[in-house]
Structure formats: structure tokens, C-alpha cells
């Protein structure tokens, strides 16, 4: 079986290291595990970064996922990054995306979610669903179908708000927000919040 690509996994939790690397190996990736961002940086000069993706937790002792990502960018290292966040920590995920992360994954994730995110990061021409990344014109056409309220909700989602917060900001009920959210996801043809955030950033919805 040929490898689907190299994955550098950075997570401080031993059980997560074992679990996720077993999963990725079973899915035919080449996995190397690092217990911290610092360990990865130390080892980096000896690594072949071609055809690889960095899968990193945002919350760790020592250098955090986001800092690691910023450091790599500052050093001019071009390595696609997928960040793992806790459920509901969308704000953190959005920051990572703004910093150029290819995607984010909410823990715990399914086989399909992680492979889609990695494949997309490894080969940006392929999106998780197999289709090419939508062109800006297509995105603009989609966002034009949103009602003003739906558009507002999309902006708040892309900023990283949870339903409750969005409800407060827009002064509507969380249930209403949920209904709008579903509409937005359908109209934008976004398969995941990560994808919606990526579209929002591409469209320049937030600074």
C-alpha cells in the first residue's frame, strides 16, 4: 500500500498520540509523533517536509499550536497545518485559519473528518469532498443568495461565535440562530464549519 502522505502529529497527550497515529496508519498515512511543539522544532531540520502536513493540537504545555504555526510562518517554512481544537473552541480555530491553517478539526473527530482535512491540506486542489476549491466568483454567487440576517449569522460564525453568543449579539433566540445556521451551511454548500470559515476568510468577511 502506498502512503497517502506524511503526517507530523504534535499532541502532548500520550493516549491521543497512540490513538490518532494508529488511526492514521490504518488509513495509510506515514505518521511521526512529537510530544510538543518544541520537540517538533528541534527535530525539524532533520525532516523532509515535502509532501507532509502538520497536525497539531492548539492547547499544549510549552509552545502552543498557534505559536508554532506563527513561528513556522515567520521562518518561511511552507508546511500545511491542520489544527485540532476542543469542541466549541471555534474562536481559536478561526485564529488559526486566519494565520493560514489549511483546516481545523474539532476533537473528537471521525475517520472521515480527519482524512478529508489532511487530504485537502496535502493537496489543496482537492477538497475534502473531492471537488476543487470553489472559485471566488462561485462563492460570491452563493453568498448573494443569503438573506441579510443569514449573512449576519455567517459573519458571526466565521468570527468564531457559538450559537448562544451569536444570539446575544444579534438579539434573537439561539433557536433562531440555529435555523439560520442550517440555511447558511446549505446555501454556501459548506460541509463543515471549517469549510465555512475558509469561505468566509476567502470572501474577506472579517478583517
Amino acid at each position: 500500500m502506498t502512503s497517502k502522505g506524511k503526517v507530523f502529529l504534535v499532541d502532548d497527550d500520550v493516549a491521543v498520540q497512540r490513538g490518532v497515529s494508529a488511526l492514521l496508519k490504518a488509513a495509510d498515512y506515514d505518521v511521526t509523533v512529537f510530544p510538543s511543539g518544541d520537540a517538533f522544532l528541534d527535530a525539524m531540520s532533520g525532516l523532509d517536509l515535502g509532501g507532509a502536513v502538520l497536525l497539531v493540537d492548539v492547547r499544549m504545555p510549552g509552545i502552543q499550536g498557534l505559536e508554532l504555526q506563527e513561528k513556522l510562518r515567520a521562518d518561511g517554512v511552507s508546511l500545511p497545518v491542520v489544527v485540532m481544537t476542543a469542541h466549541g473552541d471555534i474562536a481559536m480555530a478561526v485564529r488559526a485559519m486566519q494565520n493560514g491553517a489549511a483546516s481545523f478539526l474539532e476533537k473528537p473527530f471521525t475517520v472521515d473528518e480527519v482524512t478529508a482535512a489532511l487530504d485537502r491540506a496535502l493537496d489543496p486542489a482537492m477538497s475534502g469532498s473531492g471537488a476543487a476549491s470553489p472559485a471566488p466568483a462561485a462563492l460570491t454567487a452563493r453568498i448573494d443568495t443569503l438573506t441579510p440576517r443569514e449573512r449576519e449569522v455567517m459573519v458571526e460564525i466565521v468570527k468564531g461565535g457559538a450559537n448562544k453568543e451569536i444570539a446575544r449579539t444579534l438579539d434573537v433566540s439561539p433557536r433562531t440562530v440555529e435555523v439560520h445556521r442550517q440555511k447558511v451551511m446549505t446555501k454556501m454548500e459548506a460541509g463543515s464549519v471549517a469549510e465555512l470559515v475558509r469561505m468566509g476568510l476567502a470572501l474577506g468577511l472579517i478583517a
Partner: protein
Amino acid sequence: MTGQGDKMESERFLRSVINASPNAVITINESGDILIFSRMAQAMFGFSEEEVLGKNVSILMPEPDKSLHDGYMRRYLETGKARIIGRARPVSARRKNGDAFPAVLHISEFEISEPDNDERIFVGFIEDVSRQKATERRLEDTQLQLQHAGRIGAMGEIATSIAHELNQPLTAAASLAGAVSLTLKKKTFDGKEDALALIDDAVSEIRRASGVIKQMRDFLRNRETERALHSINRIVEESCLIALIGAETDGVMVASALDDHAGSAMVDRIQMQQVVVNLIRNAVDAMQGTQNKQLTIATASAGDYVEMRIADTGSGITDEMKKRLFEPFATTKEDGMGIGLSISKSIVEAHKGEIYAVDNHPAGTIFVVKLPAAKEDA
């Protein structure tokens, strides 16, 4: 010789029992030499069995115990006075790489009498509690931060920190299960052993997740230090303020019926406010879809108890939900964690109180919290 065969058989049996133990099992003789070093011990300490057999057990301890251990043993053998035998004890242990970690140690003692040999054997059962300690510390930090910021209403913050603690084992378990499923789907499947090992690991991660929940409860239960005498009406009033700030209270009529003689209770003020805030938020949530939105907050003195009642005219609770109401992660809300009532129950029970729900009439729910009344001694 059949006797010899039996002995070997029973030794093998003993071995497999020892290796199956979730705790590290280590046996030593009277001089402190290691005789058995179970599989779990090898994983915990990072030594292989060959590396430690016959070595003094003190290599598994950081200083000062490392140097003192021989003395401890000698004193016990001479005087029969045990400091540690027979009880579970928190200790500090040392891995091969030199890292010290917190552990709980339980020691038992056996006499072996054979014709040519009378010997005492000590068996140690060791549990690595470093993860528990780290979780505890983080929960404590969150609680402290909340108190400093005065953000009593933010039970969600605790929920977030618990969510992170839970997410790690859940991610590990879900990934391991995913790995098994992928492995089994492969055409050239030859990894039965691997798959079984992955499943074992997944199960132990799920246990770890449930351990986090248990710890969270113990944590809340053990926090008794902050208790003081508080007027129940004051607590309810303050909680009301906190709960209704930032809540979506459009159209909700709030009425309070506080009994001037409701009295006081020995409570942790912050925790009790968390309970009431959570009940009020739930009540408001439940009335989102209903026309008549009446929130009534009452206190009363009821014999040896003081009582708080939070009544709403909302959706009511289905029979299905009633069964699981106080279980962690039982929720009907899109963005709910289902953790509010479970924490509330832990807090109330830690105060030797009671919390339950009854139907309101004609519609809605009443949550009742009863706490032991403080005696009004002169």
C-alpha cells in the same frame, strides 16, 4: 514429580493474574530485592523486568525515600511497626528516565513457609495518579479564576475545562476505534492481535473519561472549606441578578416570593449561586417557545430545611428526560452540555441537601432545592 508440575502451573496462573492487574504489581523480599515486576509496572516505570529483577526496590523512588527505604524496611522487620503496610498511601515514585510522579501505593505482606525456607514477601500495588493530579489542578485553577473574576454565573467555564479533559480520552478512544474499523475492513486482514490491543486501549481511554467525571464530582464534594453561614434570600437575590444579566429574558415576567423567615444555611456561597443561576437559566430556556413566561423564585423555611423553588411555565420535562435529568451530558439543547444539573446535584448533595423537579400547573416545571437549616443557637 506431580508436586513440581502443580507448582509451575500455579505460578503461571499467578503470573497471568498479576499481569492482568490494572495497577502495577511489584513483589520484593525482606532485603528489598525485586522478585516480580508486572507488565503494568514495566509500562509505568519504563524498566523492563530483566532490568530490575534482583535490584533494590529503592531505584523506583526519588529522594529522600530512595536513601531511607532500607532503613524503613529494617525497622519494620525488627519492630513489626508498619508505617505503610495495609493502607493505601500517596507516595512519589520515579520512572526510569528520572521523572518523579505521584502514585498511590498499597502494600500487603505474605509469609512463605517452605521446609527449608521461611521468608516474608511484600507485594506492592501501585496506581499512577499523575493524570488525576493534573486534572484536579486544572479544575482548581478554573474555579479560582472564576472566583477572582467574580464570574459566578459562568458554569460554562468549568464545563469548558471539563470538556477539554474529556476530549483527550474521547479523541483517543474514537481514533482507536476508527483504527480498528479500518483494519478490519482491509482485504489483507492479518492483524487480529493488533485490533484487540487497540480495542483494549480504547476501553481504557473510555474509563479515563468516566474517571474525569467522577473526579469532577469528588472535587466539588470535597470543597468544604469555603462554607459559611449565608442568608438563603441573599443567595437567591444575588443569583437572580447574575442569571438574568445577559440571558435572553424578553417577555419573561419575574416574580419573587421570598420568605423573610427563610433563614440561613452553611453553604459555599459561590457554589450555591452556581446552582441557582443554572436553574434560572434552564427555566428561562424552557420558556423560549411558550406564550406565557412566568418565572417565580421563592424561598421558605420547611422544618429542619430551608427551601428554594424556581418555577417556570415552560415546556415541562418529558418522561424520557426525567429519568436522566441529573446525569451528565443529558441534554435536549442544541448548544447544551447537559452538565448544569449534574454539577448542581453534586453541589447540593455535598451540602447534605436535596434537589428535584416537580411538574408545575398548568404547565412548566418547578425545581426544588432543600438545604439543612443552620440552627439558630443563642
